[in-house]
Amino acid sequence: MAYGLRVLRGLVHELSDQRAYAQHLQAHGRTHSAAEWRRFSDERLKAKFGRPKCC
């Protein structure tokens, strides 16, 4: 049950890019700020919307 909830939370974080953002902050040794989010988001969305979406 606890594992299931952890996975569900993880999935929600994955789909909302929260996990990727946390990794981004960790990888670059930075802290959260509006500018940092925009920098991350621009890069992430560029890659995300450069791929075809499935039908």
Binding site: A34, P52, C54, C55
Partner: protein, 686 residues
């Protein structure tokens, strides 16, 4: 313990076989939808546990001691080892689109049996195998894309074919899904208001996320969801207002132009403003609704009203023309096998796998779940009375524009329906009419509304109907805006070879020019569909199905080449059998769509019939220009279909040449896999 496990699996196999047998042999008595659920779930479990595991162990020789690209190339970006269930959810969210919902709804005109059997068998033996092998191949090649693998494994022709195919499919796909939305919103102020409201909501969410509460995606999506629900109630108020309703009541052509303008704007506007917030919202709603529908079907377990087989297996169906073979297998693409999945399986997913064995539940299991979504759509379409189903899905050009004529035609087929019944149903869901609402979305929404409202005691049918329409339109629009953008990138990539500035994605004139070109391409087919007297779906959906299966054929050619290079001829049947089936289906479908002498089916026969009518002077003067346009469209569709057929034959022949070379020893049996590196990762901690 081991014996108990064997006994359990034997029980699952017997239950699935019994359910399949019951579905296949029952005629003339009501069948409960739970039989379909049991048959699908049992077969999928057996396929997953035995066939897929055997492929993983014997053919792919998956090895958890081997470091995956996510570990070796970890960069905190796209390469990142991730918990397998999170990757599963991510992969499923990426592959699930409107295809598995709309395809089975349209194919229900043959009865529930053909589509159900194809969704069950096709997923286990073809679709899941394709996704799984391509995911495996990409994972062993540092996450390479399908196009790159096609170029490396088969040759330059394979790579080029993959690129052209994807671009062509995008154009047809965007046109056909846009047509589904247009048909769902036509003359419906409630639905149009709700969908129109999603745009300012998305923009508001974009600004919220960018400037007010950066990074708070969940919070923002929740606000967006609440506003969306409010917009459904707002739509109801608008539809009841004599002043406001006309402002949101449009015909097909006006709506088509609106969708085209929307596609252009979405392609040119910054991603964060419209696309990204809508995409977040759409993903959560998509997963939530799929879950809700599964629970609803289990709770309600409705009885199927549609017979197992209808007389339309002979090719004279009102929804689309063509016999059960090949058209049942082309119409249901995404629920059984979809070439588009190969792009996802060679995109983000292989870069997130922490262990090689995770490819088994994610590659194979993800597609099984997609098959299950298609099964639910088939059930939703088949729980309504067949007369109602045909009244909604048959175009006015086939059954007659007047309600009395339509019900008389449909009732004469043996599917009784009355004008009062349809009027009552329309009133119940808050629509002016449900006649000739082609495209699949309205009938699916009606089926879903029936299941949702029955599980809650029969209340709020109109709310659930419009919730379902909003759900379908929301993620179709997500595909339109994202697809237009990707199509623009592909086009700019090609245009860059002609003029360097046109290839720059930051040069605004180039962005606008290429956006206009790509929107113009799918917009042309959309308008063609709106003008088509047979409803558009009759010509566009088979084109889309053929194109999607063609991409699957490309993926299976790549997969077979990889298996031949690994094991010689020993295991090539695993991908060759579905490939052979797909070639038979797509080539027969393409041949019939181009050259059938029946004007309702063959594009050239349709053009010839219209030309003959023009020459004979039987077309009214006011309709002459429109008829000329229809002739050009029919010939264009024939040409597009021919291009698809030529592409599929080209890549198949090129692949066969490579396989023969490898098996004869004239082509080196080299592997393009990355070398073995031992893992250092503790995947259980993820």
């Amino acid at each position: 313990m081991r014996f108990a496990k064997h006994l359990l699996w034997a029980g699952v196999a017997v239950l699935a076989a019994y359910a399949l047998g019951a579905l296949a042999t029952t005629r003339g008595e009501p069948v409960n939808s739970l039989w379909i659920v049991v048959a699908a779930a049992g077969t999928y479990l057996i396929g997953f546990r035995f066939y897929a595991k055997w492929i993983a162990a014997r053919v792919m020789v998956l090895d958890d001691r081997r470091a995956t690209p996510a570990e070796r190339l970890r960069n905190g970006h796209d390469f990142e080892p991730t918990n397998k269930w999170i990757v599963f959810g991510h992969h499923f969210a990426a592959i699930a689109g409107p295809g598995p919902l709309v395809g089975p709804t349209l194919a229900a005109q043959f009865g529930y049996l053909p589509g159900t059997l194809w969704i069950i068998g096709g997923a286990v033996l073809a679709g899941c195998v394709q996704d799984f092998v391509i995911l495996f191949a990409s994972m062993r090649r540092d996450g390479k894309s399908l196009g790159q693998m096609a170029k490396e494994e088969i040759g330059t022709i394979g790579g080029f074919t993959a690129l052209v195919t994807v671009l062509l499919i995008m154009i047809i796909l965007l046109a056909v899904v846009a047509l589904v939305v247009v048909n769902a919103l036509r003359d419906s102020p409630w639905a149009t208001f709700t969908i129109a409201a999603t745009m300012p909501i998305a923009v508001l969410m974009g600004i919220y996320l960018r400037f007010w509460r950066p990074s708070k995606v969940l919070e923002c999506s929740l606000i967006g969801f609440v506003l969306l629900i409010a917009s459904i109630f707002g739509g109801q108020a608008v539809s009841h207002s004599p002043t406001l309703a006309p402002w949101f009541t449009f015909g097909g052509m006006t709506l088509a132009i609106m969708v085209i303008v929307y596609g252009f704007l979405a392609s040119a506007l910054p991603v964060w403003l419209l696309l990204a917030p809508r995409d977040y919202l759409s993903t959560f709603i998509k997963l939530g609704v799929v879950l809700l529908l599964a629970v609803g079907i289990l709770l309600v377990h409705p009885t199927l009203q549609m017979p197992a087989l209808t007389q339309f297996i002979d090719g004279n169906g009102p929804v689309f023309k063509g016999k059960i073979f090949p058209f049942a297998f082309i119409t249901i693409a995404c629920g059984s096998i979809s070439g588009f999945h190969a792009l996802i399986a060679s995109g983000t997913t292989p870069k997130m796998l922490a262990r090689e064995w995770h490819a088994w539940p994610i590659g194979y299991g993800g597609m099984l779940l997609e098959g299950f979504v298609a099964i639910m759509a088939m059930i939703a379409a088949c729980v309504m009375a067949p007369g109602v189903y045909f009244a909604i899905n048959a175009p006015a050009g086939v059954v007659g524009a007047a309600p009395a004529a339509a019900v008389a035609t449909i009732s004469s087929w043996g599917f009784p329906v009355t004008v009062d019944q349809m009027a009552g149903l329309a009133r119940q869901v808050g629509e002016q009419t449900l006649f000739a609402r082609t495209g699949g979305a309205p009938s699916l929404a009606l089926g879903m509304a029936h299941i949702f409202s029955t599980s809650l005691g029969g209340a709020f049918v109109s709310f659930w109907y419009h919730f379902a329409i909003m759900f379908e339109a929301l993620f179709i629009l997500t595909i339109i805006d994202a697809g237009t953008r990707v199509g623009r990138f592909m086009l700019q990539d090609l245009l860059g070879h002609i003029s360097a500035p046109l290839g720059r994605t930051s040069w605004m004139p180039g962005v606008l020019f290429s956006s206009a070109l790509i929107v113009g391409a799918w917009g042309y087919f959309l308008i063609q569909g709106v003008r088509d007297p047979l409803g558009g779906i009759n010509s566009l959906w088979p084109l889309f199905g053929i194109a999607n299966q063609l991409l699957a054929a490309v993926a299976l050619c790549v997969a077979t080449t990889i298996l031949v290079r690994m094991h010689g001829a020993r295991y090539m049947w695993i991908t060759c059998l579905p490939l052979g089936w797909l070639l038979a289906v797509t080539l027969t479908g393409a041949y019939q769509k181009i050259l059938s002498p029946l004007p309702d089916l063959g594009f050239l026969a349709q053009a010839a019939q219209l030309r003959a009518a023009l020459d004979a002077g039987t077309i009214a003067a006011a309709r002459v220009h429109a008829t000329e346009v229809l002739i050009v469209n029919a010939r264009l569709d024939a040409a597009v279909c021919a291009v698809f057929a030529i592409l599929v034959v080209t890549i198949a022949l090129d692949s066969i040449r490579t396989w023969a070379g490898v098996l004869r020893g004239t082509v080196a049996r080299t592997t393009t896999e990355s070398p073995f590196v031992a893992t250092q990762l503790n995947a259980e901690e993820l």
